[in-house]
C-alpha cells in the first residue's frame, strides 16, 4: 500500500512431495521465486494447487522436500514465516458479526499496520461504502474482496492467493490487477492458483501436471 520497497528476497522449494488423505498429490516439485516475480499455478482439479499454496504458507507439511526463505528453512520458525506472507484461501475468514472495517482492522492491527492502510484497502477494492455494514449481509463476491483487502493490508512481501479472480466482477478484477502490479513493483512476490488465464503479463506458469505421481511413473 505504501511506496516503501521490500528488501530483495528469495523463496524456494526443493523436491517437494505432498500426500493428502492417503494419496500422493504431487512429488518432486521444485520452484524458485525472487522479489518482483509472480508464479501462477496451473493444473486440473486435484492436482494439488491448494495443497501447494498451503505448503508454501507453512500450514501443510510436506512428506519430503524443504522450503527456504533466503537460505533459512521455513520449518525452523513457522511463526516468522507466517508474518511475511499474506494468504487468501478458499475460505474468506470474514466474521459475520463484525462490520467490514472491523474485520479488516483486526488483521491490520495484528500485523501492526497503520489504520490509514485499512481505508486505502477499502477504497482499492471498492468496499468503502460497505465499511460500517455487518459482514453477514455481504454477497460472496463482496466477502472475497474483504479477504483480498486483508492480504493488501498485511504489509507482507509474499502473497499466496488461491483462485483470487473467482466471483470478482470486472471492476474488482481491474482493482486486483492494479494492486498485484503495484505489489510486484514494490519488490513483492505473488504465487497464485488459477485455472483461467495468466492474468498478469509478467506471470510465469508452474504446471502441476508435470509433478503428478502418474506422470513421473510413465
Amino acid at each position: 500500500m505504501n511506496g516503501q520497497k521490500f528488501p530483495a528476497a528469495e523463496f524456494s522449494g526443493a523436491d517437494l512431495s505432498c500426500r493428502r488423505g492417503g494419496r500422493t498429490v504431487f512429488t518432486g516439485l521444485s520452484f524458485r521465486i525472487v522479489s518482483g516475480e509472480v508464479i501462477v499455478l496451473r493444473g486440473p482439479n486435484g492436482s494439488g494447487k491448494t495443497t501447494l499454496l498451503r505448503l508454501m504458507a507453512g500450514l501443510a507439511r510436506a512428506v519430503s522436500g524443504t522450503l527456504h526463505w533466503n537460505d533459512a528453512d521455513i520449518a525452523d520458525d513457522l511463526c516468522a514465516h507466517g508474518a511475511r506472507l499474506g494468504f487468501a484461501g478458499h475460505r474468506d475468514a470474514v466474521k459475520s458479526a463484525q462490520t467490514v472495517r472491523e474485520n479488516i482492522a483486526f488483521w491490520a492491527s495484528l500485523r501492526g499496520a497503520a489504520p490509514t492502510h485499512v481505508d486505502q484497502a477499502l477504497n482499492t477494492f471498492g468496499i468503502r461504502h460497505l465499511s460500517d455494514i455487518p459482514a453477514r449481509v455481504l454477497s460472496a463476491g463482496q466477502r472475497h474482496r474483504v479477504a483480498l483487502a486483508r492480504v493488501a493490508v498485511s504489509g507482507a512481501p509474499l502473497w499466496l492467493l488461491d483462485e483470487p479472480t473467482n466471483t470478482l466482477d470486472d471492476a474488482a478484477l481491474n482493482a486486483l490487477r492494479d494492486t498485484l502490479s503495484a505489489h510486484l513493483q514494490r519488490g513483492g512476490m505473488i504465487v497464485m492458483a488459477s485455472h483461467g488465464d495468466l492474468f498478469l503479463p509478467q506471470a510465469r506458469a508452474l504446471d502441476l501436471r508435470q509433478t503428478q505421481p502418474a506422470a513421473i511413473a510413465a
Binding site: 504458507a57 500450514l59 511463526c79 507466517g82 484461501g89 475460505r91 475468514a93 458479526a97 500485523r111 501492526g112
Partner: protein, 221 residues
C-alpha cells in the same frame, strides 16, 4: 503480547455480539441444578447434603457447552489459517481464546453459582469455598477444554465426542473442587484442595496451550 490482547478483544466482542452464548451457559447451569432438585425431592436437608457436589457437577457440564465452538467456527471459516499466519505465536493465540472462553463461561458461572447454591440450601459457611474453588478450578476446565476442542476439529461428531474425551480428564478438578466446598460445610480446613486445584491450574497453564497449539497445527495440515 499485542497480538494476545488484540485477539482477546476480538473474541470478547464476537461473543458479546452473539449475546445468546453467555445466557445459554448460565441458563443450562440453573436448569441442570434444578433437575437434581427434582430428582432427589424437595427435602431441604437432603439437598443441603448434596449441594456441593451438584453445584460443581452442573458448573462443569455447563463449562463444556460452548467449548465445542472454541476453535470449530474459526476452523470452518478459515480464520484459524489466518491466525496461524498472523505472526502471533500460536500459544499466545490459544491463551487469548481460552481466556476469552473463561471470561464468558467460567466467570459467568462463578457469578451465577451462589444463586444456584442458595436454591440448593448450601450452608452459609461454604460460600467462600465455593467461589474460591470455582475460581481456581474453572480456568483449568477451559485450558483442558482447549486441548480437546483442538483435537476434535474436523471430526464427524463434535459435541458428544468432546464430552467423552474431556469428562474423564475433568474428574480430578471435580473431586477437589467439591471436596473444598464440602470441607468448608463441615468446618474442616480447605487448604489441601486449594493447593491441589492451584497446582493443577499451574500445570494446565504450562502444558495445555502448548498441546492445543500443536493439535491446531496438526488439524490444519
Amino acid at each position: 503480547m499485542s497480538g494476545f490482547s488484540t485477539i482477546l478483544r476480538r473474541e470478547l466482542t464476537l461473543s458479546l455480539r452473539s449475546q445468546g452464548d453467555v445466557m445459554t451457559v448460565i441458563a443450562f447451569f440453573a436448569i441442570a441444578a434444578a433437575l437434581f432438585a427434582f430428582g432427589v425431592g424437595p427435602e431441604l436437608n437432603v439437598q443441603s447434603r448434596i449441594a456441593s457436589g451438584v453445584v460443581w457437577t452442573t458448573a462443569l457440564l455447563a463449562a463444556l457447552l460452548s467449548l465445542e465452538r472454541l476453535f470449530a467456527l474459526d476452523y470452518e471459516d478459515g480464520t484459524l489459517d489466518q491466525l496461524m499466519l498472523s505472526g502471533t505465536e500460536p500459544i499466545a493465540m490459544v491463551l487469548a481464546k481460552t481466556l476469552a472462553h473463561w471470561l464468558t463461561t467460567g466467570l459467568a458461572l462463578l457469578i451465577a453459582a451462589p444463586v444456584v447454591a442458595l436454591a440448593l440450601q448450601l450452608p452459609t459457611q461454604a460460600y467462600g469455598a465455593l467461589m474460591m474453588s470455582l475460581a481456581l478450578g474453572t480456568p483449568t476446565l477451559s485450558l483442558l477444554g482447549a486441548v480437546g476442542a483442538a483435537l476434535i476439529l474436523g471430526a464427524k461428531r463434535g459435541g458428544v465426542l468432546l464430552s467423552l474425551l474431556l469428562l474423564p480428564l475433568y474428574i480430578p478438578i471435580l473431586i477437589f473442587g467439591a471436596a473444598a466446598v464440602e470441607g468448608a460445610t463441615l468446618g474442616l480446613s480447605t487448604s489441601a484442595p486449594y493447593a491441589v486445584l492451584g497446582g493443577l491450574l499451574v500445570a494446565a497453564l504450562t502444558l495445555c496451550p502448548w498441546a492445543a497449539a500443536s493439535a491446531l497445527r496438526h488439524a490444519l495440515e
